[in-house]
């Protein structure tokens, strides 16, 4: 990595000044070590992102930055809603991929003797969705009901508790969602995937609270040392993938009539207020609702499994559910005045500050709960939003970020060896493909402690608790 082109703005912040087609500078939150290890392709991608029409202040990358397609993973871009664009590729194909955390009232010692039983039961009850799917497919009308209704719809039907709605970003249902903006093709792909995990880095993990790093906030979040929690990481599945594919194609065709040129077709975009822009946003909101509903349905299966093993009185409470691939309309302070922006986050997590009206009432004093999943077998974190994160549009990282390509990871270690290594650390793995395990090996990712340390050091979030996996479940 050629370091000469970066201006050091702070211990954890670097800037690439405007050049060429860039409309604004590009900023990267990173330690020097992380920046030196970042591949050129990812740097080129954040510079490309800075060329999008209407982008405000700077294009931002998080410390888990690595190359994607279009923007880098870990990329953030806020566009002026009046003059700026919306870009399907800047959200990506897994619309509203995100994380949620369920908290139990049991400790790791309580469940240890029955860990295999609960992990196996969850694996059986939470499908990957890669097979032929469920025997009964939802009707298209039912898919539309989910696209419109999100988590509140499922809760009305008994798949969860009213508290779950309050504990989801957007209350688990984004306003403006229009099922008609989602193609029949996308709906077809969504008929048998509600309540499915998918593959790749998606998972369900039984974790324990290894360390409480902020006693007061942990108490408010209902977190205590030794506690068992369950993390769910997945998104909108085939419906969201198809939704992105469909709208990216129509936006690419429409872009010319607005005189927009982009350096990479995956960054194709249209003005937010154009008919194509509005249509995409309504479709995105609908797919986001499907994703929140997907995580809600998985939670229902996990809760049933938990009840079967530990008794139904042992409720799993939702701490929070937050997206990391999304575009949202938000109000932010831009040079002293509040502006309405369309904030794109691709592999980046919203982290609203204390007092923000869009976070649950009980978290207004602490800041938004932020969930950062680690790579398989390493720590995950609970963070809280801060008032000093305006420079990143109140956004932090979304994980550790890949350090090694999938091929390199496969060359490095066999899946069976990874499982053995994890077993030595007391981590159980329930997965149908050992190749998938090798690709997601802990060594293939950056050091989560350094990545989270960077966002905390930069003042973008505060650490509340560190979680350690007990069992990783990848779905049948």
């Amino acid at each position: 990595m050629e370091m000469g082109r970066f201006n050091k703005m702070g211990e954890y912040l670097w800037e690439i000044p405007r050049s060429g087609a860039m409309r604004v500078p590009a900023r990267i939150y990173a330690t020097e070590k992380i920046l030196r290890e970042t591949e050129e392709e990812a740097i080129a991608q954040i510079m490309n992102t800075a060329s999008l029409p209407g982008i405000v202040k700077y294009a931002v990358a998080m410390p888990d930055i690595h190359s994607g397609y279009g923007p880098p993973i870990g990329g953030v871009g806020a566009m002026d809603i009046e003059t700026g664009v919306i870009s399907p590729g800047f959200v990506g194909y897994d619309q509203n991929c995100g994380c949620r955390l369920l908290t139990s009232d049991l400790t790791a010692d309580d469940i240890e003797p029955r860990l295999d039983e609960i992990a196996s039961r969850i694996q059986r009850n939470v499908p990957s969705g890669l097979g032929q799917g469920r025997t009964e497919k939802m009707s298209i009308a039912r898919v539309e009901d989910i696209l419109k209704g999100g988590v509140p719809r499922l809760v009305e039907e008994g798949y969860g508790f009213s508290e779950d709605v309050e504990r989801c970003e957007e209350g688990g249902r984004m306003e403006g969602a229009d099922p008609k903006a989602v193609s029949e093709r996308a709906k077809l792909r969504g008929r048998d995937q509600l309540g499915t995990l998918g593959s790749g880095n998606h998972f369900c993990e039984i974790q324990k609270v290894e360390e409480v790093l902020d006693e007061e906030k942990a108490r408010i979040f209902g977190i205590f040392k030794g506690q068992v929690v369950i993390m769910i990481h997945t998104g909108s599945r085939g419906l969201g993938h198809q939704n992105c594919t469909d709208h990216l194609k129509s936006v690419m065709v429409a872009m010319g009539k607005y005189g927009i040129k982009v350096p990479d077709r995956e960054l194709a975009c249209v003005p937010f207020h154009s008919s194509e822009g509005k249509e995409f946003f309504a479709a995105l909101a609908a797919a986001c609702n499907y994703a929140w509903a997907n995580r809600q349905m998985i939670s229902h299966y996990v809760r049933s499994s938990w009840g079967d093993v530990f008794g139904s009185e042992r409720k799993l409470r939702l701490l929070y559910d937050v997206a990391h691939n999304i575009a949202k309309i938000e109000d932010h302070d831009v040079d002293g005045s509040i502006k309405r922006l369309i904030v794109h986050r691709k592999g980046a997590t919203r982290a609203f500050p204390p007092g923000h009206p869009e976070i649950p009432v009980e978290h207004r004093g602490t800041g938004q709960v932020v969930l950062i999943p680690g790579s398989m077998g390493t720590a995950s974190y609970i963070l809280s939003g801060t008032k000093t994160s305006g420079g990143s549009w109140h956004t932090v990282c979304h994980g550790a970020g890949r350090r090694m390509s999938r091929k390199a990871a496969l060359r490095n270690m066999k899946g069976s060896e990874v499982i053995e290594e994890l077993a030595k650390k007391g981590i159980m793995v329930k997965c149908r493909s050992s190749r998938g395990i090798a690709e997601e090996a802990p060594d293939a990712y950056k050091d989560i402690d350094e990545v989270v340390g960077t966002v905390a050091g930069a003042g973008l979030a505060d650490k509340v608790a560190k979680l350690r996996p007990m069992a990783v479940i990848k779905g049948e």
Binding site: Y69, I73, G89, Y93, L130, Q132, E266
Partner: protein, 133 residues
């Protein structure tokens, strides 16, 4: 002549696809998608008629792959061949042929347009496609 080659990408799957002419390149791209999807095949032939139109040849390659992905995932089928009824630089009408499947080992989200360019290589045409997984 190699049909395709999986090359390194940090998070996703990057595939270089080769072909003596455009028809062969497109047919080989379908084979590449089949390989990386890791289908669990079962008895029974699969046939699907399809049409795709795009703004140019490079987009046509990506749009074809996304059409094949859609048909494959909604019909539980995996395709290994294509018969072209009509083909131009911006459209295809054809018939996909393959087999029924129980499921897939890899969840391919989409073929992306990132850096795709169909160009002349040493032995004919080639293109590099990143698949989001």
């Amino acid at each position: 002549m190699k049909k395709f080659q999986v090359v390194d990408h940090k998070a996703d799957i990057r595939v270089r696809i080769f072909g003596g002419d455009i028809e062969e390149l497109l047919a080989n791209s379908i084979l590449a998608l089949r390989r990386i999807s890791e289908p669990e095949t079962m008895k029974g032939d699969a046939v699907a008629d399809m049409e795709v139109s795009s703004i140019d040849l490079s987009s046509l390659l990506v749009d074809l792959l996304n059409e094949v992905l859609f048909l494959s995932r909604t019909r539980s089928e995996s395709y290994s061949d294509i018969e072209f009824f009509e083909i131009s630089d911006t459209s295809i009408k054809g018939r996909l042929k393959g087999s029924k499947v129980k499921g897939f080992g890899e969840d391919i989200k989409a073929a992306t347009y990132h850096g795709v360019e169909v160009k002349e290589g040493k032995e004919g045409l080639e293109a590099t496609v990143i698949f989001d997984i």
